[in-house]
Amino acid sequence: MAIGYKIKVVVKTSYREGYCKMKRTMKLLMLLMMVVVLVGGCAKAADEVTIAQTDDKSSETTVTDEIVTIKLFTGKVETVDLMNSLIDEFNAANPGIIVEQEFQKDASNVIKVKFASGDVPDITTVVTQDYIDQGKYLDLTNEVWWNRIDPAIRDLCTDVKSGNQYKVASNMTMAGLFYNKAIFADLGLNEPATWAEFEDNLSKIKDNDSEIAPFFMGGKDSWMLGHLIEFMAHGVIKQDLGITETKAAFLANDDTKLQFGEVGGPMESFAASIISARDKELFNSDFLTATYDNQIEAFAMGKAAVISQGMWALGGIIEMNPEMVGNIGFMPYPAIVEGTKPVILSAEDSAYAITSDSKHPEEAKKFLDFLFQADNMVKYSEFIKSPSAFEDVSADWGPIKDEVAHALAAGVHIGFTNENPSGFSGDDAGRMVQELFAGEYKTSADFATAYKEIWDKAWNASNN
């Protein structure tokens, strides 16, 4: 008992000592905290006073000394270096304005986050119908630039719903079929007008040399397959209705004009063409896993006879094999529906818009004024190897100028499909082509039905 009692006392004493020690520590900590908070508070207060004083002193000069920062947000990797050098020139000549460029590979998605978070750029190359409808861009209809721009490009930049222009395209781009002129010449092949003639050409190429892919697609990059739908399938509608009526039909989901689900309609004919060429093994065997880079490499090195691409691919091909320059042919997409004509994409490229949330629209316009100057547009065209949209700009933009002119004369001009419902992007359409190639649709009619269903669902989600 005595021992137990003693222990109890010892424990009690040490507890009390510990308690007092803890109390002292707590007091010290509290004191320290108070000091920190006080010092922090005072420092903040002092800062505020300093700022207030500074403001008082320079209240008149602040406005003139203010440096405006303009953020340019782009998804165009091919223009990043050129834009950086142009921006440096502009910044040097305009001390009050600093233009900063931000490039994002996934720009069309990133801008959505930017809009939602309030981190809105002043100028952007990402312009979609959804954002136009939501009033995200400044109306540029009355800007002086339009006096110098090709009227056809102005039409392509016009929002069908409002009739206004919210973007200015600095250039034009073309897309069609690049082909190896030497292979075509060796086999005595002519540019085909119909898909049947095209398949006939490809079969001859295949029979002649099994090492050469007759028609090479980088199907892992689904945007490329989405382009096939935009140009070949939608091309049927576009050549029939023209630019404005097509846009209106897409926006209204006018099935009497679009006929997406119809047998013999654009989607079914497109699917039938792809299935036919696939079954005849006219595509590269790695259609589903090859990338854009693989495609460019194969064409540049003479391992692919035909590829579907736009002018944006030209630089890469020539860089990879400069000797290819004189060997590049360019032709329209052959007609996939009887009674229609070959089509070629001739559309706006490098579109710039000013956001309506920009706090410095005048400075943003000043930068675009600078960018659209004729001498800068010459540099721009020659750099991205595509013709300028400005009529006063004469640039030596590419080594296949003549081939392009020839193709433009041979095909009906069509534009991009910018009116997709937001839940059904070009990438999504491309994934459907992947499925088609992988044999997930038993017939071309199944593909057309599925395409219509998905389009309708996305359109209803966006419009209801």
Partner: protein
């Protein structure tokens, strides 16, 4: 005085406050906000409208979403068990004494340090038909007899992804099992050997029961990791061909960027439960098997 003492005695309860605040800001608030968003038609830009459980109903009606659920579960069913089996076997093998053990451990663990995205691209280049290393190897051996597009085949691609994932992360699982093996007292094995237990019997009756904690950690982390798979699929197939290898995480990302923010949040909540259920079952089951030292 009594009140003062009472306050002081309760003071330690407030020490949890900073942690609770952080937890609230970074977990509870986003979770509640997510639940709220999942009941709206928010598109990431315009005003959100309350739609009740429409997003959840839509999810179960969406053919693509159901395919993604199937793909995700298939991936987890392939990946999680293989990671554990091979991780455990590697650990058993490398728990022995032999020359070069450390080098082999490092080699097996090394891929886990590299980003799954980079690893996925490396494997993509290895597996590419016509250009990849494996194609060249097979071509040199069989003379072009096996010209097969592993990643371009809808039903095979998912298993290729499983193998690459297991190859990459087996080292991580192995390290945890190794730590568990080394914590087992040597005396237990010695006692087993004296009792005449064979090597397999010692694994069955001594090693495995003593490894419940590492097994629990590995099973649960592998289930979570496998059901939330994202990067390796993006790099290897981008979810294709079509949507055949698209996981639920990729679907959520694509829907979120495709102006369906409310809907994608609803899918994220469904994914949360898809992960939670097997984790809870595994946790409960393995808790029952716990051995106390």
């Amino acid at each position: 005085m009594e009140l003062k003492n009472k306050i002081i005695s309760k003071l330690h309860n407030f020490m949890i406050l900073p942690a609770f605040l952080l937890f609230s800001i970074f977990f509870i608030y986003p979770l509640l906000k997510g639940i709220g968003l999942s009941l709206t038609d928010y598109d990431g830009m315009t005003k959100a409208n309350f739609v009740g459980f429409d997003n959840f109903i839509e999810f179960f009606k969406d053919h693509r979403a159901m395919n993604d659920v199937k793909t995700t579960i298939l991936f987890a069913l392939g990946s999680a068990p293989l990671l554990n089996i091979f991780g455990f076997l590697y650990a058993l093998l490398l728990d022995r004494k032999f020359v070069g053990k450390s080098i082999i451990r490092t080699i097996i663990y090394l891929p886990a340090v590299i980003s799954p995205l980079i690893m996925g691209y490396i494997w993509y280049f290895i597996l590419q038909p016509k250009r990849g290393f494996i194609y060249s190897l097979i071509e040199s051996v069989s003379g072009n007899a096996l010209d097969f597009n592993w990643l371009g085949n809808s039903s095979m691609a998912i298993w290729v992804i499983v193998i690459v994932n297991v190859w990459q992360f087996v080292g991580m699982t192995m390290v945890i099992y190794l730590a568990g093996l080394q914590a087992i007292p040597e005396e237990l094995h010695e006692a087993g050997m004296i009792d005449g237990a064979s090597y397999l019997q010692r694994i069955r009756y001594i090693t495995l029961p003593m490894m419940i904690q590492p097994i629990k950690i590995n099973v649960i982390t592998n289930i979570i990791g496998s059901l939330a798979v994202f990067e390796i699929i993006i790099a290897l197939t981008d979810g294709g061909p079509g949507y055949s290898t698209e996981s639920l995480s990729i679907y959520i990302m694509r829907k979120c960027y495709g102006s369906f923010t409310g809907y994608s949040t609803a899918v994220a909540i469904v994914l949360f439960f898809i992960v939670l259920i097997p984790v809870y079952i595994s946790f409960k089951y393995l808790n029952k098997k716990n051995v106390e030292m």
